[in-house]
């Protein structure tokens, strides 16, 4: 496996949540980075050029949905997975985000690790095969 091939960015204001997601993703062979607010996230997007973003819907400085929209404006192809302890899947805010194509999936906290893996394997089938 080549370095820099698969990079993910985790955006969540909960440090320990970032830790958990990073560990899960590292277990899948990804290089991981974390941002604790929207501003950091936008910086990281430029610097680290991730291929996948896990995004908490409630951030201290910006609404996660808004951030997803910003990300999509500069990187229309970037897959974003929304994650939240505030909303559930059936919430109109989330449904709208999915319909608008701002996000390819939604994970509600607390989650099963396999839900995360499910999205990874769907997005990166080769990656899962190599494991």
């Amino acid at each position: 496996m080549k370095e820099r091939e698969f990079v993910t960015l985790v955006v969540d204001d909960e440090v320990d949540m970032c830790w958990a997601l990073e560990r899960i993703l590292q277990g899948e062979g990804f290089e991981t980075h974390s941002a604790y607010n929207a501003e950091d996230a936008l910086n990281m997007l430029n610097k680290k050029a991730p291929q996948l973003v896990f995004l908490d819907v409630k951030l201290p400085d910006m609404d996660g949905i808004e951030l997803a929209r910003l990300i999509k404006t500069s990187n229309p192809a970037m897959p974003v997975i929304l994650i939240s302890g505030y909303y559930y899947n059936d919430d109109p805010t989330i449904q709208k985000g999915l319909e608008e194509g701002l996000s390819i999936g939604f994970i509600s906290k607390p989650f099963k690790i396999n839900e995360i893996r499910h999205y990874i394997h769907r997005l990166f089938p080769k990656k899962s095969l190599s494991k």
């Binding site: 830790w19 958990a20 409630k58 201290p60």
Partner: protein
């Protein structure tokens, strides 16, 4: 008749008193004009006649004028003033004040003079005064409040039925006692101060002083004092009306409880969300732990996260329970900054989620005040929840405490300011009214701020609001600092 006789005759006939003079055979030998005018009798119907022939039979029966005449002739003493009601067909009803006076001559008592003064008008006025008095007395007696009058020093002079019922003490037991002797332990100083202020300022409104009943029960009473002064503005006494607050307090307690439940609902929603973060971390860490049981370093890392997550979840629940469980009680020395911190711990996460930035500016050495910290927590929580509702798209919340020195007293000033939508001018006077709400039906009870108002008032404080539509609102709470804690 000589001139002087004529002159006297003139005086006597014009005097506004009826005069009849009887001789010893009980016949009238003199009658003046006034009597004839009043009774509408002709001189001939009176002169030389006996009392029985002149006065109506009913009047004779109860006044016994003939007997009294005889008695006066026999004993030689005057019969002092009595009242007579003169009713006769064709003439208006009159009330007379009459007396019989012996007139001594050479041969002892030769004549007796009957003087009759018309007091109809005075009687009517007196009756009116009595009626008013009776009416006032019945108002005082049928009042549900304690109505008490005192001398200028506070010695009880009257005590009404409601007062007897409330204190279980009869007016008889209370009259002559000092009003402060009714106070519950430690409360008499407040009442004494009220008496002093009343004598100085004339009025004291709405001070709450607990009294003790005969059986030792303490009852909260709201007192209104006023001074009574005579025409020369000399202090003649003190009056007080005392309202039993037992029921009001119970109702207030229920209102506080229901408002608390309402904020609890808001909090519970927020807290459910809040719990999902530590739960998410704990759950993820536990799953990772299970997947890699052979890496002791990693296990330690996971266990640490699980433990921290559980602790955080417990704290969130504990905060909610602490808020839910508290029943209003005693006022204790309280650090207002600490209470504000507790409130912010409860609601802080919710504010962050709503993109509300909290700016704290807490005065570092705030003196402790006597307060019910949990109730004040409810007040702050309510105001902060309102502020957050006013900022649906996020914003800034400034929380500031300071010590305000006034000439004699000091007060803690707590300012909660937001840059939300503000309160429309037409609403600003109503926001402390119970059940006033601009929220849709089912969303707000409209009790929150009225309860805040009640709680702050109970602490002897004030709550004020300033707001500009589109710019935000500022709530200011002033709580008095008492010297003795």
């Amino acid at each position: 008749m000589s001139d002087i006789e004529k002159f006297f005759e003139q005086i006597i006939s014009h005097i506004p008193i009826s005069i009849l003079v009887f001789d010893s055979s009980l016949k009238v030998v003199y009658v003046n004009e006034n009597f004839l005018e009043k009774t509408r009798l002709k001189r001939g119907q009176v002169m030389g006649k006996q009392a029985e022939d002149i006065f109506p039979p009913v009047l004779l029966k109860y006044s016994q004028i003939p007997d009294l005449l005889r008695w006066t002739f026999r004993e030689g003493h005057a019969v002092p003033g009595r009242e007579m009601i003169y009713r006769s067909p064709g003439i208006p009803y009159r009330v007379y004040y009459y007396s019989l006076n012996p007139l001594k001559g050479e041969k002892g008592i030769e004549h007796v003079m009957l003087l009759m003064e018309d007091i109809t008008e005075q009687t009517r006025l007196r009756e009116e005064v009595r009626k008013t008095e009776r009416h006032l007395a019945s108002v005082v007696e049928s009042a549900n409040d304690i109505v008490v009058s005192m001398d200028p020093y506070g010695i009880i002079t009257t005590w009404n039925t409601a007062g007897e019922k409330i204190t279980e003490l009869s007016a008889q037991e209370l009259i002559g006692r000092h009003i402060t002797s009714l106070c519950a332990t430690g409360e008499d100083e407040n009442l004494r101060q009220a008496l002093i202020s009343t004598t100085e300022a004339g009025k004291v409104k709405n001070i709450e002083v607990k009294i003790k009943t005969k059986r030792g029960k303490e009852i909260p009473v709201a007192w209104n004092f006023s001074s009574m002064r005579d025409g020369g503005s000399k202090l003649v006494g003190l009056a007080a009306i005392g309202r039993d607050l037992t029921e009001t307090k119970q109702l207030q307690g229920q209102l506080i409880q229901s408002a608390k439940l309402a904020s609890l609902g808001v909090l519970a929603g927020g807290i459910a969300h809040e719990l999902r973060n530590p739960l998410g971390i704990t759950s993820a860490a536990a799953q990772l732990f299970l997947e890699r049981p052979d890496d002791p370093e990693f296990l330690k890392e996971c266990a640490q996260r699980i433990y921290t997550g559980i602790q955080r979840a417990s704290e969130i629940i504990e905060g909610l329970l602490k808020f839910a469980r508290h029943s209003p009680g005693q006022h204790e020395p309280t650090d207002i900054n600490k209470i504000l911190e507790e409130t912010l711990t409860l609601i802080g996460k919710q504010l962050t989620t709503q993109q509300i930035t909290v700016h704290r500016d807490l005065y570092p050495s705030l003196p402790l005040i006597k307060a019910d910290g949990k109730l004040l927590n409810q007040v702050f929580l309510n105001i902060i929840i309102n502020a957050s509702n006013a900022m649906p798209k996020g914003g800034h919340l400034w929380i500031k405490t300071e010590l305000e020195q006034r000439h004699m007293t000091a007060a803690l000033k707590i300012v909660v300011k937001d840059n939300g939508v503000g309160i429309p001018k037409e609403h600003i006077d109503k926001i402390f009214d119970p059940f006033f709400s601009t929220m849709p039906v089912g969303k707000g009870t409209g009790l929150g701020l009225s309860i805040c108002y009640g709680i702050v008032k109970e602490h002897g404080g004030e709550i004020k609001v300033e707001s500009t539509e589109g710019e935000g609102s500022t709530f200011t709470i002033l709580l008095p600092v008492t010297k003795r804690i």
